[in-house]
């Protein structure tokens, strides 16, 4: 367990990734606008080996992180900033990102997830867009600035009602579909309730089921998932983080319970 003041961890780290090539753990820390890196196997109150933080980084509210071991880059999704950005894997301190991708046409909001396919040189982004409660946008890995996505998976047939994280492997996209287009009762600064707020929303309010959805990396448009894990027996009504173990054909996620669910689905990989 990595914990303690020296670790520079904060509450609600919405992103973590493991780099098997370099044996590194990378996590995002929204309450400090930072990205921290540890040696694999770290334990206790250990400081990170690197911390990316500061004005030049442009990090606002980092969510999912994804390590590209082939190109030695760290990607992260900036929920509040509305973009994804890449840093060198060994970046440390107040450094500028290598590239920052924003959607040129429709804009991205609530950018929660990012994944990288280093072989096909593609970046996959989970976000809300101007025309959908959630979309998976596909960009060239080397895109920079205002960019047009190569593909967008969005629309009523996709079943996307909100997105949390994405993973890619073997030409497939794995996504956690939240069933919850989270809109807090307060403005982003926590100053006052939003204009039409009549009260909070209960976590128990009926809403669409969350689920795991799988598409092909070359899917585009309003297309249904190629496979899903969805239903009352899955233990998923709410869903958040997503990890995959291609070696054993497992997918891990957090469902409704405060814990981790594992699904053995080798035929989905």
């Amino acid at each position: 367990m990595i914990e303690g003041q020296h670790t520079k961890l904060t509450r609600v780290a919405h992103g973590i990734d493991y780099d098997p090539v370099h044996d590194l753990i990378v996590a995002s820390e929204p309450l400090a606008s930072s990205i921290v890196t540890y040696r694999g196997g770290s334990n206790g109150d250990v400081p990170p080996v690197r911390v990316i933080q500061g004005t030049r980084t442009k990090i606002h509210s980092p969510w999912q992180v994804a390590v590209d071991s082939a190109h030695n880059e760290i990607w992260y999704a900036d929920f509040g900033g509305g973009y994804v950005a890449a840093f060198p894997l060994m970046a440390n301190g107040d450094v500028a990102p290598l590239r920052t991708i924003r959607d040129h046409e429709d804009g991205m909001r609530g950018v929660s997830g990012v994944a990288v396919d280093p072989e096909r040189n593609l970046v996959f982004v989970a976000a809300r867009s101007a025309h959908a409660p959630g979309a998976i946008l596909v960009f060239d890995r080397l895109a920079d600035g205002e960019s047009s996505p190569r593909a967008i998976i969005a629309g009523p047939t996709t079943g996307i009602t909100g997105l949390w994280h994405v993973q890619v492997h073997g030409g497939k996209i794995f996504a956690s579909i939240t069933g919850n287009d989270y809109r807090p009762p307060y403005d982003s600064g926590g100053y006052a309730p939003v204009a039409d707020c009549k009260g909070p929303i209960s976590e128990y309010a009926p809403r669409p089921l969350g689920f795991i959805a799988i598409w092909n990396e070359n899917d585009h448009g309003d297309v249904p998932p190629r496979a899903i894990i969805r239903g009352p027996s899955t233990g998923i009504t709410t869903i958040t983080g997503l990890a995959i173990d291609p070696i054993h054909g497992e997918v891990f996620t957090r469902g409704t319970l405060n814990g981790v669910l594992a699904f053995l689905i080798p035929n989905f990989f």
């Binding site: 914990e3 303690g4 003041q5 520079k8 961890l9 904060t10 509450r11 780290a13 919405h14 493991y18 753990i25 996590a27 309450l31 400090a32 606008s33 694999g40 109150d45 933080q53 990090i59 606002h60 509040g80 900033g81 047939t157 079943g159 009602t161 919850n180 809109r183 807090p184 009762p185 307060y186 982003s188 926590g190 100053y191 006052a192 309730p193 009549k198 009260g199 929303i201 128990y204 669409p208 089921l209 249904p224 969805r230 009352p232 027996s233 899955t234 233990g235 983080g241 990890a243 995959i244 497992e250 891990f252 957090r254 409704t256 319970l257 405060n258 814990g259 981790v260 594992a262 989905f268």
Partner: protein
Amino acid sequence: MRKIAGRQTKIASLLVAVAFGGAGLWLPGGPLQAALLAVRGVLAPVAYAAPAGSNDPHGSAGSPPQESPQFLKILNTIPGGDVQPCSVLADPYPSFNGVAIDPKARLAILTDPNLRSAMIYDLDVAAAPQAKGITPRKAWVRGPATWLSFATGVALDPVRQRFYVTENDWGDDLANFPYTANGDYKAHVLAIPHGTYGIGISQRYGQIALAIEHSIQIAFFKIGAQNADPPLRSIRGPHTGLADPHGLFWDEKNGEIVVANYGNWSQGQWDRDYPGGGHYYPPSITVYKDDGKGDVAPLRVIEGSKTRLNWPTGVMVDTNHNELFVTNQAANQILVFARTASGNVAPLRVLGGPRTLISHPMGVAYDPVRDQIWVANYGHTAEVFARAAGGDAAPLRVIRNAPAGTPEAGFGGPSAIAYDSRRDQILATN
């Protein structure tokens, strides 16, 4: 909770075996399945409707998305579907978090973010340390009508005989109940900013103070506020010294508010136009005049290497003896300072060590009748000590929410997961 846990899958199997009596497929039925169904009232896709009215469980802070007819039409043609997980790594027992005491009513109330509940105990409950079973509760408040989800801070209003519970993550509400609440009791609720942790109540002002991590502030509401009633005032700004505030105590006797800060700071995480970056400040205890408003400086700050602060989470002031108690979460200690301590000062005494059974302490409260403190750990025990206990002292009583020896998964709402392929471990953030 800020832990990243690397867990061997064999531990996952152990928890599955404990909860379900078998490995492999997660079988329907049993206590955990019942708990799952109790958490979500409706599992079939339904169209959402948002009626107005107080205590409306749907609220109106935006409507959840509707499932599209097009998707539902083709749903059964998509491979996969209602697949059971092959393993479930979760604690079927509660995890204590906050604790508050009403010495006159002889009640102790503890929150539980794991099973989304609040537990009410008789302050004089028999709980010998050698007893191995679950300590009897007066009441257990849980269920959809309670609104309780990631229940963290708790404060009691002894005049109105009600208790208040903050939601730190999954919910954005302050739920309150009468002392007599039990089971799936319908809460009165107030919309609050995201990431609220600590809470204090003042009868003199008729106000509730909330420490809010994400927007780095102390927000004040009128006692009795509900639904979308706005805050009355706030303490926030660069001069306040607030940085990821957690526990809060309203010291009415001395007219002060005490806050524990982890030290993490970021305006950019809620302000997309903020050009500066985040910061890691030292952990601290900051003390304010309780009539403060706006960007006010603290009266005192406890900060520095001598303080030994390490993720200070809960705070409590014993105004009888003028001592300040801090749960030093990551060091498994209770630090006790002079109430008026300031600067880089060492604690008067430190309570911690293997005999204390203190492990990830989150909340601390004082019973002046017995001159005892209650320490709530993020896990299956709370300990009761003599107020003046220090060092590696054994507790006088141990409150258990699970049989002794039950493993603790320690999850605090993992929002992200990774797989370490070298070690065959799951990494989960808290």
